[in-house]
């Protein structure tokens, strides 16, 4: 286990280094430059002064090396747009993103996996059909669209839920208020992931149920319930765990659209803002923070897989 972890951490470091190089190259190649400099009223001299102050007058390779030198010491530079250290800026948004993404992930696991197994057990049944159709719909509606619809329905017309934000500004901030704000964005964010998880679980369970050892168990007279929960779930989890791992970057980094529709103060929106505004330090920091999170989650997923499925351990 220990050598395995050490090896995976080494790999993770290489991954992060690769990520930083790729991001930096793409960022520098993108036209336009920081939106800070896009003000047409700036004079030539003012522009040059700003570029010099931010170190943008240096060749990209020099800029990267400088950035890397500071980054390994934990200094990711100050955001152009926010003028605060990039990590502080991210830190102020991270709890909100974790809350939203965590709730969405929890929702999709709690709903997706059991439903996937149930539908696999009665493949072709009424429940299976209904759920399959619902999944199709959940996957077919863009998040920005379902978000807006839910807002119109529950906030504008029915007036039962707030129309955005994470808390009532200047109002009572309690658990209930927070949950009311969380409900719709979490649902929207969970919908796609839940449907996907359900489909993979169902598919993996079906494959398992058709495998010889399950057939044998069934022939031996094991109850279908027992087979489903003991064997199919265990077996299907190998696939499912990797699917969950795959959803993480999307939940954390790609929640930008849900966050925008619901004015949620999360990191996804921050990242997109940074990318669109070419806020170099912030883009690098957001990308690396998310990448580090994903790398860690990946290691965790591997560990879980080893625990679940001895064959993976052997491999």
């Amino acid at each position: 286990m220990i050598p395995f972890l050490a090896r995976r951490l080494g790999q993770g470091t290489i991954v992060l280094l690769l990520v930083s190089v790729i991001t930096f190259v793409i960022m520098m190649a993108a036209p336009g430059g920081p939106s800070l400099l896009a003000d047409p009223k700036l004079s030539v001299a003012e522009r040059a002064e700003i570029e010099q102050r931010l170190g943008l007058d240096q060749p990209p390779a020099v800029q990267y090396v400088r950035w890397l030198g500071r980054a390994v010491q934990g200094d990711f530079g100050a955001s152009f747009l926010y003028q605060t250290p990039a990590l502080t800026t991210i830190g102020s948004r991270l709890p909100q993103t974790l809350l939203l993404a965590g709730t969405a992930l929890l929702l999709s696991i709690v709903v997706g996996i059991p439903l996937g197994l149930l539908t696999a057990a009665r493949a072709g049944g009424v429940l299976d059909r209904v759920v399959t159709f619902a999944c199709g719909v959940a996957l077919a509606v863009p998040a920005f669209w379902s978000g807006l619809m839910l807002l119109l329905l529950f906030a504008v017309w029915a007036h039962v839920l707030p129309a955005g934000g994470a808390v009532t500004e200047g109002g009572d901030v309690g658990l209930i208020d927070r949950a009311r704000h969380l409900l719709l964005p979490a649902l929207v964010l969970a919908a796609g992931g839940c449907a996907e998880l359900l489909r993979y679980t169902r598919s993996a369970a079906l494959t398992t149920l058709a495998l010889p050892f399950v057939q044998t168990a069934r022939a031996r007279g094991l109850s279908p319930r027992r087979i489903l929960w003991r064997h199919a779930l265990r077996h299907a989890l190998t696939t499912v765990v990797s699917v969950i791992g795959l959803q993480l970057p999307r939940l954390v980094g790609g929640a930008a659209i849900t966050e925008t529709v619901f004015s949620w103060p999360g990191m996804g929106r921050l990242g997109v803002e940074a990318a669109l505004g070419r806020d170099y330090p912030l883009v690098m920091a957001v990308t690396l923070v998310v990448a580090a999170g994903v790398v860690i989650a990946g290691i965790a997923a591997d560990v879980v897989q080893m625990v679940i499925d001895p064959r993976v351990r052997a491999a």
């Binding site: 036209p31 336009g32 430059g33 920081p34 939106s35 400099l37 896009a38 003000d39 047409p40 009223k41 700036l42 004079s43 003012e46 522009r47 747009l81 926010y82 003028q83 605060t84 800026t89 102020s92 948004r93 709890p95 909100q96 974790l98 809350l99 965590g102 709730t103 929890l106 696991i109 709690v110 807006l148 807002l151 119109l152 906030a155 504008v156 007036h159 707030p162 129309a163 955005g164 934000g165 994470a166 808390v167 500004e169 200047g170 109002g171 009572d172 901030v173 658990l175 927070r178 969380l182 925008t260 529709v261 619901f262 004015s263 103060p265 929106r269 921050l270 803002e273 669109l276 505004g277």
Partner: protein, 517 residues
């Protein structure tokens, strides 16, 4: 697994909870599109500008006719040579932390504003300022290098006064706590709470020098998406938003929502790069101007929320707009004749060609993402195609458009706009060789009028100067002005006493907003 995940969830809920409860029905809620930086010298973005107008009053502020009126200065006197202005400051004003406001703060602010290493974004606004002298604790003199008439307007624009006692001795950009969480100004509201990415809450300043603010709190909510803003307004969670004409359908007729409109100091135009041979001739630029059906654009794209233009000085500047002249007419036949007079004739394919057989074709740049500008560009393209001029539209991101095409003068034509302080001075835009003269316009008579206009303090004389400028523009238009937009404000029914100004200037009078019960 589910249970432990549930525990983690609860922890997250608790961890994400922050800040204490506050409650008041007398809260004005306004949207911001980005997190503000609480320093009027550093931040040119819309979000910061809006909040800073409330927190940091200037020496003067624009009244509803956009003329400078007293704020932190109660009166002022211009020297006869126009080279200095003396201001009497308002007595008894204190900063939000209780420290008295004095002439030292004014001097500190302008010293920083013109300091090349402070990070100030107001340097070009105050490039004419030579220095500030403290006469006594409540009087200052601003010295100028050359007479500069727009000074008073600019003092009421973005130049909020900063507290010397909190910022002295450090670089403005290094004052992170001040800039991001604990700003101290002299305005009618002071900072109460900042939730990054979420909101900025201001609360009534009990010791404000002016009339007592009508609302208890102003909450600026960060809602970057315009459709989300509309939704929140309709849900009763915002009180005033500014919208695009495209959003009108979503707010008109909605319960509890009113739509207001205010002329703003902007001109939207198609700028032709006069350093290109194609657009050198004034006749060609005038002809193209006659070929565009502006009233169709104002009606179709702006849904009527705009004014037809004469020249580059918008109608919002009542004192200077040449109301005697009719707007530029739509006259495609005259355009064709004018173009023929300088050698552009229709070929068999319907396109204009010159003597050497080259077609009249160019690329029109427009920034993407704004439906008003994209639709205007399409309308211009179609109008020009009717007289045989072929414009191909290229949409690009604004930052790329500015940096890669406009600044290096690497473009044929662009659809863009200027938002200016409420002053007719357009020296930096249309004077020969100025940095911001992106269209490379050059006209000797205009050069001398613009130079004279910014040096002339007397309003009546200035009016004559800018009338003359606008008449020259008819013959030799620097740009093809499309329209003067009006700011469209969608307002909740409970909000009253809104100053009749664009939202930015209206926030200089934030004590007046009232929430009805």
């Amino acid at each position: 697994m589910t249970r432990s995940a549930g525990c983690v969830w609860l922890l997250l809920v608790v961890a994400a909870c922050s800040g204490g409860p506050t409650r008041s029905d007398e809260t004005l809620r306004l949207p911001l599109i980005n997190d503000p930086i609480f320093n009027p010298l550093l931040a040119p973005d819309l979000g910061s500008v809006m909040v800073n107008k409330v927190l940091f009053p200037g020496l003067v502020r624009p009244d509803e006719a956009l003329r400078p009126s007293p704020d932190l200065a109660v009166s002022w006197l211009a020297a006869t040579d126009g080279l200095s202005y003396t201001f009497a400051l308002r007595p008894g004003v204190t900063w939000h932390d209780g420290v008295p406001f004095t002439a030292r703060d004014v001097k500190f602010t302008f010293d920083q504003a013109i300091d090349p290493v402070s990070g100030s974004r107001l340097r070009s606004d105050f490039a004419a300022v030579a220095g500030v002298d403290i006469i006594d604790s409540l009087a200052v003199r601003i010295r100028l290098k050359t007479p500069f008439a727009p000074l008073l307007t600019l003092l009421g624009y973005n130049a909020g006064i900063l507290p010397e006692h909190l910022l002295k001795g450090m670089k403005l950009t290094d004052a992170i706590a001040f800039n991001r969480t604990t700003p101290v100004g002299t305005g009618p509201f002071r900072i109460e709470r900042v939730s990054p990415g979420s909101s900025v809450t201001l609360v009534r300043n009990a010791s404000f020098y002016g009339t007592k603010p009508n609302v208890e709190r102003i909450v600026f909510k960060i809602v970057p998406d315009i459709n989300a803003q509309v939704t929140q307004l309709r849900a009763g969670e915002l009180d005033l938003i500014t919208i695009e004409p495209a959003n009108l359908g979503s707010v008109q007729g909605a319960a509890g929502v009113r739509v207001l409109q205010v002329p703003v100091v902007q001109h939207w135009y198609v700028g032709f790069n006069a350093s290109r041979a194609l657009f050198k001739s004034a006749v060609v630029r005038r002809a193209l101007g006659l070929a565009v059906n502006r009233s169709a654009i104002v009606k179709g794209v702006l849904k009527g929320y705009g004014d037809l233009p004469g020249g580059t000085i918008p109608v919002a500047l009542h004192d200077y707009y040449d109301s005697a002249a009719a707007p530029v007419p739509y006259a495609p036949d005259s355009a064709t004749l004018l173009l023929a007079s300088v050698g552009w004739t229709r070929g068999p394919d319907g396109t204009l060609h010159n003597a050497s057989g080259e077609p009249f074709a160019f690329e029109l740049l427009v920034d993407k993402g704004n439906p008003t500008r994209e639709q205007s560009a399409l309308a211009v393209q179609q109008d020009l195609s009717r007289i045989g001029v072929k414009a191909s539209i290229r949409t690009m991101e604004f930052a790329a458009l500015v940096r890669d095409r406009v600044l290096p003068s690497n473009y044929d034509a662009m659809l863009i706009w200027w938002t200016t302080p409420p002053d007719p001075d357009q020296y930096s835009f249309y004077h020969t060789g100025e940095d911001n003269n992106h269209v490379r316009y050059s006209n000797a008579a205009v050069d001398s009028l613009l130079a004279l206009g910014r040096a002339t303090a007397d309003t009546a004389r200035r009016r004559l100067i800018y009338r003359a400028f606008q008449r020259i523009e008819r013959e030799d238009p620097p740009v093809l002005v499309l329209f003067y937009p009006r700011e469209i404000q969608a307002v909740s029914a409970r909000l009253t006493d809104i100053p009749r100004l664009g939202i930015r200037d209206a926030l200089r009078h934030s004590e007046r907003f009232r929430i009805a019960h």
